[in-house]
Amino acid sequence: MTLEATSINLTLGGRTILTDASVRVDTGRVIGLLGPNGAGKSTLLRSLAGLEPSAESKRTLDGVAAPTRANREWACKVAYLPQTGDLSWPVTVREVVALGRLPHHTGPWGSQSAQDRAIVDLAMQQADVNSLANRPADALSGGERARVMLARALATEPDYLLADEPVAGLDPGHQLQVMELLRARAGAGMGVLVVLHDLTLACRYCDEVMLLYAGRVVAQGRPVEVLNPDNMAKVFGVRVLAADTPDGPVRIPMARLRENTP
């Protein structure tokens, strides 16, 4: 099964954000989306999630065109995890995670079944936020909140997860834990598109990476090949240390090659 958006051109306020960008996620795979700040990663992810109105018509799921308006059945299949964990009211962590079950309920009331509660519990356990369950979610640290929001997206049990920088602000242990979790979910059949800034994590946990630069997809393929020193110099303007270790490949930015991005 495949979720894709093809040939997206997007201009916001006179500025070109995306030029002929295509993105494709297959179930069972983890796709990394990398590129400098402002390259259009979030916009491409949002386009695939159906949140950029001008790109809506270009989305398909298994060849079926996406509806132009928010749709419950699609919401059950495609979960979107934004970078900012907006929260308007001080509800508990468990309540936030349970919001992920909303698309599965029909009718105006939608009370939770025992199955819903079990799925919410599992998602909280996998994102390691079980111990926070009854805390108000607005009183958490940035990294804790990011994991709560990830649990919320997982609680939907989507076929596809579109995650915008899910490891930003996480401590090293939790960064590895979240990447392992995404891998495990992909192993169980979920398709994952994940925006990352950590080159090593991208190398080690993604099946494929896309490199975005100034609104264009400039490289795509196996992580170790795409994230080579040459591409890193061109796209990020950094010299990287590329090495292989018993635990897998590493890519560490060592020095800037230019003073400022041109």
């Binding site: 419950r72 009211w89 105006p108 919320r152």
Partner: protein
């Protein structure tokens, strides 16, 4: 297992019993208390003596419609406050502060004093509804859904001032020489001297609007996580906004056309109830209807307090109760305001 791992009791179990009991008690008190206290029990058992007929008349024609209207108007304001706060993700949103009520009053004033009600009996509520719908649309146009609290409040100030000034102007220009004396009623609201005719004006619109508002629970829950996530959870926000504008317009407009502009109910009720539903914007909606009814029944009883000698306007009582809370909320939100 430590204590924090036990399932959270997010909704207080006694919330509904307390709300229902309070509302019923205040409703009964509202029938009893007034310039002529009515011994309900004696009346019901036939022991009221020679005044039974008069007392029954006061009960049926004056007290009962007034109490029913308090339930409708208070329920509407509480309900709309909870829904608007959920939609705009802002604890300061309510029909009064946003100007929907005063815009509704303006519409009703135009319909009433310029002869429209003479030709079309429904002109009064329809005028109120048209005004309220325009008022809310103007707010959403000026501030938008994602507005900061300060922007929203300033937009409310603008709509309130405009609607208030136009109401005063309309009353001055009205053919009836007494119209301008009624400005106090429209600005501050009252349930005094209302009849069953007023109940029948409000009833159809409440029956139409309340179910729409009560069924907005799930999209409001989803909006807890912001508009993008709500949309990705399958909720069409334009459709939601349309339903909120229509349903609040219908109910607030119709209510204001018989009660005048009663402020702060929609601010106070959701704020007071929020901790008891785990701050959950969806679960807040239904209790806010009952809470609004109880609050307005209570406030209306206060207007009839014998201590004051003369009957107060209902809007004065709700403002005296609500304005301090408004200041308190502003104080706590001040870091977010700028």
């Amino acid at each position: 297992m430590n204590a924090s791992n036990q399932p959270a009791s997010v909704q207080t179990p006694w919330l509904w019993p307390v709300l229902v009991t309070t509302t019923v008690a205040l409703f009964v008190a509202s029938l009893k208390v007034g310039s002529a206290p009515i011994p309900l029990w004696d009346l019901a058992t036939g022991n009221a003596g020679p005044e039974a007929a008069t007392l029954s008349l006061i009960l049926a024609e004056i007290r009962l419609p007034r109490a029913i209207l308090a339930v409708f108007v208070g329920g509407t304001l509480g309900l709309c406050g909870a829904v608007l706060q959920g939609l705009l993700r802002n604890p300061l949103a309510e029909p009064g502060l946003l100007g929907a009520s005063s815009a509704g009053a303006l519409g009703a004033v135009i319909a009433l004093y310029f002869g429209l009600t003479a030709t079309l009996p429904l002109a009064l509520p329809l005028g109120g509804i048209a005004g309220a719908v325009l008022g809310i649309m103007l707010i959403l146009f000026l501030a938008g859904r994602g507005a900061r609290p300060s922007t929203l409040i300033l937009a409310g100030v603008a709509v309130n001032s405009l609607a208030g000034a136009l109401t005063a102007l309309a009353l001055n220009l009205a053919p009836s020489p007494f119209a301008s004396l009624e400005i106090v009623f429209w600005m501050l609201g009252s349930l005094a001297d209302r009849s069953f005719e007023d109940v029948t004006i409000v009833l159809p619109f409440v029956l139409l609007g309340w179910p729409i508002l009560l069924m907005l629970r799930r999209p409001l829950e989803a909006l807890t996580l912001g508009e993008d996530v709500a949309s990705s959870l399958g909720f069409d926000l334009r459709h939601l906004q349309l339903r909120v504008v229509l349903a609040t317009g219908l109910t607030v407009g119709a209510c204001v056309s018989v009660s005048g502009n009663i402020g702060f109910v929609g601010l106070m009720v959701p704020h007071l109830l929020r901790p008891w539903v785990g701050h959950h914007p969806g679960r807040l909606v239904a209790p806010s209807a009952l809470g609004g009814a109880a609050l307005l029944l209570g406030a209306d009883l206060l207007t009839r307090s014998p201590v004051l000698g003369q009957e107060l306007k209902l809007g004065v009582v709700t403002a005296l109760l609500g304005a301090p809370l408004f200041l308190h909320l502003l104080w706590h939100l001040r870091t977010r305001l700028l």
